[in-house]
């Protein structure tokens, strides 16, 4: 079933419409390990390949909470324990003046979590990826749309999968060497 030298089969499409339709059909035909590639985000494409939820938002929440708490804790510790300075008899724990730094730290950590979390979940930076072995894939950042069925899919079978993809009326079907 699995061929070690093949990463998968790649079908090339001309429009976003065709890609989404093909992705729907491939996914409902029972293929699980598939991916679609487009030069810009297409609404509904991730749903079509069965990818509904991502955890970026959760990471941002965690980042924000850590940033806010550590920002406030740092100010509390510095102002009341490590370096208390009496200014006009005001309390050491003068919380209203700690709000701004707490806010900034929340935003900073949440924002960094959004950017780096997104990159980490996407597995980027990734110096090598087999899809780039297909010459036509250079157009994936231009005006072409691609659908790949990975050879690790349990339903994957070189000849039959190729026939199936051809049935979706793509421009071309090519093998992706790993």
């Amino acid at each position: 079933m699995n061929d070690a030298s093949t990463y998968g089969l790649m079908a090339e499409f001309d429009s976003a419409q065709e890609l989404v339709a093909a992705a729907h059909k491939t996914h409902s035909a029972g293929y699980q390990k598939i991916d679609a590639y487009s030069p810009f985000p297409i609404e509904g494409l991730a749903d079509a390949i069965g990818f509904h939820k991502n955890s970026v938002a959760f990471l941002v929440l965690i980042g924000g909470i850590i940033g806010g708490l550590s920002g406030y804790a740092l100010q509390y510790w510095v102002s009341t324990i490590a370096y208390p300075v009496n200014i006009g008899g005001r309390p050491y724990h003068s919380w209203p003046s700690f709000i701004i730094v707490t806010f900034e730290m929340t935003i900073l950590f949440a924002g960094l979590a959004a950017a780096f979390g997104m990159l980490a979940l996407n597995g980027l930076p990734q110096p090598y990826h087999p899809v780039f072995n297909v010459a036509a894939f250079a157009k994936a950042s231009d005006n072409k749309f691609f659908l790949v069925v990975f050879s690790t899919d349990p339903k994957y079978d070189g000849a039959r999968t190729r026939e199936f993809l051809k049935g979706l009326a793509p421009r071309a079907v090519s093998e992706v060497p790993s």
Partner: protein, 463 residues
């Protein structure tokens, strides 16, 4: 966000993107500016000019580090002078970039897609210019890291009750988040450049920067979530930054500074000057690089409208300041108002009113909003006016202290001017390089403006 944008049909306004473009022509047109367009003599000459101006900054800073802040015109009672005027001015200019990229993104204003990239670049460069001033103003910039909380042998920690420390956190967070937001937006376009580049070295550099982006549907899904959340985080951040800058003033007890109107009035002023800078740059850039198809009259006109609206808020701020000077019955506040109108800097105050309040009213008329020449001229006037505003706020408030014995005048020296114009050189040098090195319009976001980028549910079901 990109996916919910549509081209208005049967709209009397100019389109967001001129007809006749496809996914490919957008990529080609924008990436060719970076990859194919030869370096023109005009570019080299312009670069020579702005780079020379940047070297004036290096000279001025070098001498400052040697001699100290005594080379500037700051004396007591005017201890803030040019350094803080320019800091607030530059930070304000930066605000338009984040407003365009974050707030307009949340408000689903699709027209922002063609100007957000270079507006964000403008933000970064402006904040970098701004950062120089408070750093140099400390007098010992090599000890500036003392402002950050870190364990040290002196057993010393920053004073978190001070607005100046809030400013350190606000501005450094702002710069970091703006940089991250900008870079995240760039990743798909860097992949486009990587795939279009012909020279192996160019391909290699853009390839490394694109980090292996391949446009996978899973990646786009996470990318869009991250981008939307960054926009959501940057929105309160941008409003907070100039608020915190205004706290540097408002938390003190100096007449003319100690008012509650300062935060909203500063934020509006920041966006006002920022849009003026966007227009100031966009109008020549679109003409030189033939980007009229993407940066259309619609964008310029909308920016003009934002300027008009924020300008009116600033005008309201001036009005309230004057009203409170009279209504509060406070002698010092009343004197400040009188001094602004009749004191030694009254000409500057009238210049401020003319350039920030009177002249921009021309933008009510469509004729001025749709003329590149007039928009450009009004933007320059507003930029000058917003600089004057900070001059009035700082110098006029400080030069008449509570006691007559502490009155003084402010005379900037040539080093003040060299530092100021030098940062303009630094800003323009960075812009000069940016337009030739990175795609100045977002390719992937512009593509989503085309009707064929949207998948129709009906057709999906039918297949």
């Amino acid at each position: 966000m990109a996916t919910n944008t549509q081209i208005p049909v049967a709209d009397r306004r100019a389109p967001v993107i001129e007809p006749g473009h496809s996914f490919s022509t957008i990529g080609e047109k924008i990436s060719n500016i970076v990859l194919k367009r030869p370096i023109s003599l005009g570019w080299v000459f312009g670069f020579f000019v702005v780079f020379s101006l940047m070297n004036v900054l290096l000279l001025a800073l070098g001498y400052l580090f040697l001699k100290g802040t005594g080379i500037w015109g700051i004396t007591i009672p005017i201890g803030w002078g040019f350094a803080i005027i320019n800091f607030v001015w530059w930070i304000g200019i930066g605000h338009a970039g984040t407003l365009i990229s974050a707030i307009l993104c949340l408000l689903r204003q699709s027209w922002r897609n063609s100007i957000n990239r270079f507006a964000e670049a403008m933000t970064l460069f402006a904040v970098a210019c701004a950062g120089i001033f408070p750093l140099a103003h400390t007098g010992r910039p090599w000890l500036a890291y003392w402002m950050f909380p870190y364990p040290n042998t002196m057993g010393y920690w920053p004073q978190f009750r001070s607005p100046l420390i809030w400013d350190v956190f606000a501005v450094s967070t702002y710069f970091t988040i703006s940089l991250v937001f900008w870079f995240v937006g760039l990743i798909p376009d860097l992949a486009t450049l990587r795939d279009r580049a012909e020279h192996p070295l160019t391909r290699g550099i853009y390839g490394i920067l694109a980090m292996g982006w391949r446009g996978s549907a899973r990646h786009w899904h996470r990318y869009e979530t991250a981008y939307l959340l960054l926009a959501g985080l940057a929105t309160p951040l941008v409003l907070s930054v100039h608020t915190v800058v205004s706290f540097d003033f408002a938390v003190s007890i100096v007449p003319g500074w100690h008012t509650t109107i300062f935060p909203p009035y500063f934020v509006a002023g920041a966006i006002y000057s920022g849009f003026a800078m966007v227009l100031c740059l966009a109008i020549p850039i679109r003409a030189i690089y033939g980007l009229e198809d993407f940066i259309t009259m619609r964008h310029l006109e909308n920016s003009g409208k934002v300027m008009l609206a924020t300008g009116l808020i600033v005008g309201y701020g001036y009005g309230i300041e004057a009203f409170m000077g009279w209504y509060s019955g406070n002698t010092f506040d009343a004197f400040l108002l009188w001094n602004r109108l009749h004191g030694p800097y009254s000409a500057w105050y009238l210049g401020l009113i003319a350039s920030n309040i009177v002249i921009p009213q021309l933008l009510w008329m469509k004729k001025f909003r749709t003329s590149t020449f007039w928009l450009w001229m009004i933007s320059l006037v507003v930029l000058a006016g917003m600089w004057l505003e900070r001059f009035i706020i700082i110098v006029v408030s400080l030069h008449r202290d509570f006691l007559n014995s502490s009155w003084g005048m402010y005379y900037p020296t040539k080093w003040d001017f060299m530092t100021f114009f030098g940062t303009i050189g630094m800003f323009l040098t960075a812009m000069w390089l940016f337009v030739r090195i990175l795609p100045m319009v977002s390719i992937s976001e512009l593509r989503t403006l085309l009707p064929e980028a949207h998948v129709h549910e009906a057709a999906e079901v039918e297949k």
